[in-house]
Subunit: 334 residues, 2 copies
DNA sequence: ATGAAAGCGCTAACAA
DNA sequence: TTGTTAGCGCTTTCAT
């Protein structure tokens, strides 16, 4: 396993160029010669050194994946989607966590350049102009994933979060609910939450309902639990929309703790269709985002960029869908 | 950003060897020369090419991480632990999913060799002799993580799953429970589940209780839900121990669906202390495994191997701990 | 303290 | 169809 291409060439009685040719199928090699080369490769347990290959060819078959935190929510599913498609196209991924910090994200792009990755899939809670500058400097194919570029300069795969939030309000309105609260972090929320909130506000206005904000300190379970518990002093909602599933589950549990019945007294809806939604009682109605597909589609998109395949648009919008579960069913069976 | 070390050398009026020296701090360079080099680097926005560096030095500062599935359970936390420590020591990780399939795992080790990684962190549901052979062939430093090598030949970080299961049985016994069921996949279970089951059986025998097995088809939520529902026809348990949290939550919900009260009628305990445990009602008592630490410690261990630092033992056992929540509290407050 | 030069293992013209 | 030969951008002896 430590033989070089030169050893193989000698063993097979050919030049290293020929070995390279059969290895990469980059030119026609006589059937018999090819056979000899293959035998030599097997005999020596030869494996090509990808680093040398990368240096010579200037392509490493490696792509950089920059995420805020793999261990958060369903990021791992997304990464899995990336990795599956990457491998399909014979790429490997270098995974980095940025914690959503701008400076780290920027440094990481530089490091990825040093590693000579062929491209980058980039996720961030909110895209700044510094990011764009860095991308341009790096001169690398980049696809944004679940990260909105308001000015649509960078290739990007996303869902329509505004429309999704509108859909939920319509859905709850159709069930007779009018006092729908939005549970989300105020101020320092992610771009995605902002969009959902915008859609929510627009829809509430369209229906003539007054928006109700249950503001949380952060975008996590405990902050949401606390916020909803506090809010219950007011008791004027008949439905809650969480900025994501984790926060919606917190809302669900705050209701449980307060003795409120879901869905009778309060309907609850989340976002993202994480595994969580099926692991609560009642189960959580949610807006399904194709987590795995996010990654898979983004990576597929990147391969197109890398192969100079034509792409019709730089912004891919994935479909979303409301998945109804028992946290909103009007007629409870049990 | 596309200048080479040679450009920097010329700009600074020194040889490339000197640039390399200041870059790597590998020999003493006169303060003034160093300054000139640093200025040239800044002026040209020079960044070293890690691939060329890897080829020349035979060290890539990259380690391969082979996991069954990042998106499963808490694997992502573990990977995060690896990545954090890796970066601390200036390494990057190439992440690969094997789906726990032996052939894929073996192929992956080969590919990691091709990529010239400096070491591998390896996770698998069950270690076979084929794995060991591959490891030896690859001649790479390897650390097993949450993966038992029964013969203790490969460095490994783990917890004592047998003891953990014993502890749970003791814990439930102290609460007066005697008909404790074990919810786990039979036959094709992971090595970890096997160990937990062994510990469970041993403890049950020690107490003079009869072991009760609720066998599931697979190690997941739905299989466990189905199995526990079926088992309830018999109705002879007063406590259930899930092979992991996901299965324990399924047991919890099967109880809910059957109208059984937890913890009064049935206590439920899980394994792993995933986020899930706090997102159920009642909240789930569980055995905490340090997910993040698994990865962090394994990576730290690997750095020791890579730097030839002395290691006292090849098997690191991490501590476990029962976290009591409301699924087993005798006096329920509400 | 610095420079010259030989690789590292491969790809990719260019020849033949 | 196959071989020769430059590199790719860096590290690392070995001199000086």
């Amino acid at each position: 396993m430590t033989a070089t291409i030169y050893d193989v060439a000698r063993e097979a009685g050919v030049s290293m160029a020929t070995v390279s040719r059969v290895l990469n199928d980059t030119a026609v090699v006589k059937e018999e010669t090819k056979k000899r080369v293959l035998e030599a490769i097997a005999k020596l347990s030869y494996r090509p050194n990808a680093v040398a290959r990368g240096l010579a060819s200037k392509r490493t078959k490696t792509i950089g994946v920059i995420v805020p935190d793999v261990s958060a929510g369903f990021m791992a599913e997304l990464v899995r989607g990336i990795e599956d498609v990457a491998r399909m196209y014979n790429y490997h991924i270098i995974l980095c966590n940025s914690d959503g910090m701008v400076q780290k994200e920027i440094d990481l792009v530089g490091t990825m350049w040093e590693k000579q990755v062929d491209g980058i899939i980039f996720m961030s809670p909110r895209l700044r102009s510094e990011h764009i500058d860095t991308f341009e400097e790096a001169q690398l194919p980049i696809v944004l994933c679940r990260t909105d570029d308001p000015e649509r300069r960078i290739p990007c795969v996303n869902i329509d979060n505004r429309q999704a939030a509108r859909d939920v309000v319509d859905f709850l309105s159709a069930k007779g609910r009018t006092a729908i609260g939005f549970v989300g972090a105020a101020g320092n929320e992610s771009a995605i939450t902002s969009e959902r909130k915008e859609g929510y506000i627009a829809a509430m206005n369209d229906h003539g309902y007054e928006p109700i904000f249950i503001d949380t300190a952060k975008e996590d379970y405990n902050s949401a639990l606390l916020a909803v518990r506090t809010h219950f002093a007011i008791e004027r909602c008949d439905a809650l929309l969480g900025a994501n599933d984790e926060m919606a589950v917190a809302a669900l549990h705050a209701c449980y703790d307060a003795g409120l019945k879901v869905p009778q007294d309060m309907m609850v809806v989340g976002f993202d269709n994480t595994k969580l939604t099926q692991m609560t009682r009642p189960e959580l109605t949610t807006v399904a985002q194709p987590m795995y597909d996010y990654g898979a589609v983004a990576m597929r998109f990147l391969t197109k960029l890398l192969r100079d395949e034509p792409v019709s648009t730089y912004t891919v919008i994935l479909p979303h869908q409301i998945i109804e579960r028992t946290s909103t069913t009007t007629h409870v069976k049990r």
